[in-house]
């Protein structure tokens, strides 16, 4: 219980620190939206100062931060300085697309990795080869490169992709990449646990392989499986960002990148904070599950 509380407090502190850090960085960028407007039209210094006062850009950073957090908690993430729309709905729409891609590819990755490891634990040589192959694939071929190749092959040369739907290729590419990162260490862990004396003793007693897997191997391999999965899910964000931009999906990656290029700071800030908080959440959940699974983690602190 104390462990769980500590994890929650750490997560909250990390979330708050990251949010404040991001706010400081994007409050301190040289040049704000008024500069962009001024370079496009003809605003004199007084008009610029008036605009800054109107937008609240002349206040000290900590006051703007408090105001921003207060408004964000009430559901108001500000107004896009480029499009004049509220940021909240823009972010929500983008998050939906990103979550869809992330959930599908993360799910595929977990399914592939756990499926292959189970098959390998049951003694399948094919599964063993497949684990090695996708591990090599994920190390040597960055998703970025595979994505470009897939884009060329399917949409330029074969002309298929629009017909199949834009999500299929990115989901498969990310899924295989994630499975490759996950399957190898997981299968090594399973093999290590399977060689432990208690498993050999259980096998000698003539217990069925399924019973062995469920009651003698899985409980010991679970912590490693959970922490690897958590790491994979947190890292998924980088992959979805690349895929979104390559395949032109309207997700968080596109939102933030367009925001950066147009100095649309409310959008950039909200997008980055949302992404970072999602990762902090995944990390905290992983730690919670780990603490519940493995009592040894409690005695360490």
């Amino acid at each position: 219980m104390r462990r769980a509380l500590a994890i929650l407090v750490t997560g909250l502190a990390q979330g708050l620190a990251i949010t404040f850090g991001l706010f400081l960085i994007f409050g301190a960028i040289p040049g704000d939206v008024v500069d962009v407007w001024a370079s496009a039209g003809d605003l004199d210094a007084a008009q610029q100062a008036a605009l800054r006062a109107e937008l609240g850009l002349d206040q000290p950073a900590w006051r703007r931060f408090l105001a921003w957090v207060g408004a964000a908690l009430a559901g108001d993430l500000g107004t896009s300085q480029r499009f004049g729309q509220p940021v909240g709905p823009m972010l929500w729409e983008a998050a939906e697309a990103s979550l869809q891609l992330g959930a599908l590819s993360g799910g595929l990755g977990l399914l592939l990795a756990f499926g292959l490891c189970t098959a390998q634990a049951a003694g399948s040589r094919m599964a063993r080869l497949a684990v090695e192959a996708i591990n090599l694939w994920s190390i040597a071929l960055p998703t970025f490169c595979v994505g470009v190749a897939a884009l060329l092959l399917f949409s330029v040369w074969l002309g298929w992709l629009p017909a199949i739907g834009g999500l299929l290729a990115p989901v498969i590419i990310l899924g295989i990449d994630n499975a490759g990162q996950l399957a190898k260490p997981l299968s090594e862990e399973v093999a290590e646990v399977a060689a432990l004396p208690h498993v050999m003793a259980a096998r000698a007693r003539g217990l069925s392989p399924l019973w062995l897997a469920r009651w003698h191997i899985l409980p010991l391999a679970a912590p490693v499986a959970v922490s690897l999965s958590g790491l994979m899910l947190a890292g998924l964000l980088g992959g979805t960002l690349t895929m979104e931009l390559l395949f032109g999906l309207p997700g968080m990656g596109a939102l933030v990148l367009n925001g950066i290029q147009g100095r649309d700071q409310p959008v950039v800030l909200a997008g980055l904070v949302a992404a970072a908080l999602a990762i902090v959440l995944v990390n905290a959940l992983t730690a919670l599950v780990l603490a519940a699974l493995d009592p040894r983690h409690t005695s360490r602190d």
């Binding site: 990390q14 071929l141 490169c145 980088g238």
Partner: protein, 261 residues
């Protein structure tokens, strides 16, 4: 084989400027989007620039950025990890609270944030990559140091009167080289890929610096007219990643003390 490939690529990157058949920036508007073959071995891009020459010119930039960034990450992260350890428990706890927070975020996101704050360019790119991977080095330095701290040679040094800094730098640091070198070898190819993605997104190197990510980004917009101009730099990125990964594996086996068993 991969090791030979890596060495060959290093040689190409170093000799690239002399080997290139054309000026990488020279535009030949009468030969746009030429397919590979003939005078232009790997074809030309949408401005009639020779793809092979750009690839060779970009090799140096791409590899130099990745190498500098991973070395800087090693210095910053490893240095921070050791310094914090020497400053006492309070400083270490606070410093690693920050480092662990950053370590939880994917490096691509950290690099994106740093570059958005600093603006595009080659030096911001190196710094952003270094900052993104430095928390990993700090973490590995701390874990390895803790393991060494429990060893008897450390106790012996303390008993014979060595102060905490002397123990840290004279006795423990040499034993951290193995894990840190291994991590550098793992991070190097990730720097190549991250650099390419960032440059592809228009956040990395400036448009006139021919890194592979930039070449890919330029060519991606016109992929239908000149698919080879996109495929060539991307294949080069994949090859370098594979070669670096193989080299990293070799380096890991070389420094791993268990290899003797």
């Amino acid at each position: 084989m991969m090791r030979g490939l890596a060495l060959a690529m290093l040689a190409l990157a170093l000799l690239g400027p002399w080997l290139a058949p054309f000026d990488p920036l020279d535009q030949d508007l009468l030969a746009l989007n030429r397919a590979p073959g003939g005078v232009h071995l790997l074809g030309t891009d949408h401005l009639g620039r020779d793809v092979l020459s750009r690839l060779l010119a970009g090799a140096g930039t791409t590899l130099a950025v990745a190498a500098l960034a991973s070395l800087l990450a090693l210095l910053l992260g490893g240095g921070a990890g050791l310094l914090l350890a020497g400053l006492g428990r309070g400083a270490e706890g606070l410093g690693f609270a920050v480092i662990d927070t950053l370590r939880g975020l994917p490096p691509l996101l950290l690099a994106l944030i740093a570059l958005a704050a600093m603006g595009p360019g080659l030096s911001p790119l190196v710094l952003a990559l270094a900052l993104s991977f430095a928390p990993l080095f700090a973490h590995v330095a701390r874990t390895a140091r803790r393991r060494e701290q429990a060893e008897e040679y450390v106790a012996a040094a303390i008993v014979s009167g060595a102060g905490p800094w002397r123990v840290l730098f004279r006795h423990i640091m040499p034993n951290l080289a193995g894990p840190l070198v291994t991590l550098t070898a793992i991070i190097l190819p990730r720097c190549v890929v991250t650099e390419s993605v960032l440059s592809f997104l228009g956040l990395g190197a400036a448009p006139d610096a021919p890194t592979w990510g930039r070449m890919a980004a330029d060519a991606a917009r016109l992929a239908e007219a000149a698919p080879h101009a996109l495929l060539v730099p991307v294949a080069a990125i994949a090859l370098v990643t594979g070669a670096c990964a193989a080299l990293g594996g070799a380096a890991r086996r070389y420094v791993d003390p268990r290899r003797a068993l």
